[in-house]
């Protein structure tokens, strides 16, 4: 497991370094937006990946309520944690970019509002966990909050698609025209996306393992208690 971790971390390091090299040295400066545009190479993958956890949470929380096995709860919990981290970073990097470009740190644009709501939903999920003491009640409540929260995120996202927005169009992804971008830019986007995707996957796996380990320690402790109790009574 340690070796796996090291390989994974090594890969992330290589990808991150190449992404940074591409972003700051290879990629040409944007004609309209200037140097500040370079933050997009970090901001866009962060923002796109922030939208993945609600999907994971919806599926794993439903599975937890049906199956009641703690591993689904652990996976839902860690996706929310990583989701919160990514949403925070997306909001911060976006804000840094908005200041020189739009002249303000924040604007009540639908896309921005969506992310802020998503951020609140993630925090609510983590709060209900910390305010509920009994482990199975905690898992049940957070699964319910997780399911409704992800539906809510979806609703807000769809609504923001309908609203007018000043948020820049998504020039990457399947919707964008193929030849719209310089090959260096395309490579930069691709590499930084891969780097951040690896980081995303790694942190979720890492946290899930951690939560599962905590669960296991809990049940082992129960078993030890059980044994001690039995021995001391007989």
């Amino acid at each position: 497991m340690l070796l796996q971790n090291r390989i994974m971390l090594g890969l992330i390091l290589i990808a991150m370094m190449s992404a940074l090299y591409l972003i700051f040295i290879m990629v040409p400066t944007d004609v309209n937006l200037g140097v500040s545009q370079r933050i997009f190479y970090i901001h866009v993958p962060l923002a796109v990946l922030s939208l993945i956890p609600p999907i994971i949470v919806f599926i794993t929380s439903t599975l937890y309520l049906v199956r009641r096995s703690p591993q689904w709860d652990a996976l839902a919990h860690s996706s929310v944690e990583v989701g919160l981290l990514f949403t925070t970073l997306a909001l911060v990097t976006g804000s840094i970019w908005a200041r020189p470009t739009w002249g303000v740190w924040w604007t009540w644009d639908p896309v921005l509002t969506t992310f802020l709501i998503l951020w609140l939903v993630y925090l609510g999920y983590l709060l209900i966990r910390s305010y509920t003491v009994e482990p199975d009640k905690r898992a049940r409540f957070s699964a319910i909050v997780g399911i409704l929260g992800s539906i809510n995120a979806l609703a807000v996202y769809l609504a923001s698609e309908l609203w007018r927005t000043i948020h820049p169009d998504k020039v990457i992804g399947p919707a964008a025209e193929e030849n719209a971008l310089d090959p260096a830019i395309q490579l930069g986007i691709l590499v930084s996306f891969i780097a951040i995707l690896l980081l995303f996957a790694y942190t979720i796996i890492f946290r899930t393992r951690l939560h599962s380990a905590v669960n296991q320690i809990g049940s082992l402790r129960d078993q030890i208690d059980d044994l001690v109790y039995r021995i001391s009574n007989k």
């Binding site: 309520l65 209900i128 049940r140 539906i151 609504a159």
Partner: protein, 224 residues
């Protein structure tokens, strides 16, 4: 089916009778909501163009706060007077308990709204008592109450019920409240026309989705 509906009504009727006995909740919610209306109204600058927007915003802010207080109060009374086990021991499906609570919360809110709307109609000098605004209010209130009832059932079971409910409830109802504000200001605008029916349809669909999901999830929320 008939017994199911009777059970739902028995539970809501009990909540309503309990409230009629003291009328504490209705009075306190009204005091707070009217105070809130005064504060927001004084804080928002007056301009002729923005009247509809201001009115819609203030009204929905008031309804949001009122519904938060109503759903919380209703569950706290249940919890403090007999504890939730008192209903769980009865031969009633869990979702009937949920729907019973939704119906009583809804009736409480409709009563509060029936005071709030004529009042703001006078205070803001905006014709609020039209069929479209009524339809919008009804549809959106159902969704808000449906979400609030589920979250209240969860929150009363945690260590910090008074903090947990707003933390879960407010972000969850943002979409429907935004849609309601939007629809209300459109309805007030005479030039908007028949497109308002679409807005009402969206609200109805949202509410229906919330109430269906919440009724299913409630089964897990009280599962001890």
């Amino acid at each position: 089916m008939k017994t199911y509906l009777t059970q739902v009504w028995d539970i809501s009727y009990k909540d309503i009778r309990l409230e009629m006995r003291t009328r504490q909740m209705a009075v306190s919610v009204l005091v707070i909501v009217i105070a809130l209306m005064i504060v927001t109204n004084l804080a928002i600058p007056k301009s002729v163009d923005a009247t509809f927007t201001t009115t819609a915003t203030v009204i929905w802010l008031c309804i949001l706060i009122a519904s938060f207080m109503v759903v919380m109060r209703n569950f706290v009374i249940e919890y403090d007077q007999i504890g939730f086990h008192g209903l769980i021991m009865c031969p009633v499906p869990r979702d009937a308990i949920y729907l019973g609570k939704v119906v009583s919360n809804l009736i409480f809110l409709l009563v509060i709204e029936s005071i709030l709307f004529p009042l703001s109609s006078i205070l803001f000098d905006v014709p609020l008592l039209t069929p479209t605004v009524t339809a919008i209010t009804g549809m959106a209130t159902i969704g808000i109450v449906a979400a609030g009832t589920l979250f209240a059932a969860i929150s009363v079971n945690t260590k910090a019920r008074e903090i947990m409910l707003p933390v879960l409830f407010f972000p969850a109802v943002i979409p429907i409240v935004l849609a309601a504000v939007d629809a209300t200001q459109n309805a007030l605008n005479p030039s908007y026309g028949a497109k308002i029916l679409e807005d009402i349809g969206v609200l109805a669909a949202l509410s229906l989705a919330i109430i269906a999901t919440s009724a299913i999830l409630f089964n897990f929320a009280v599962d001890e």
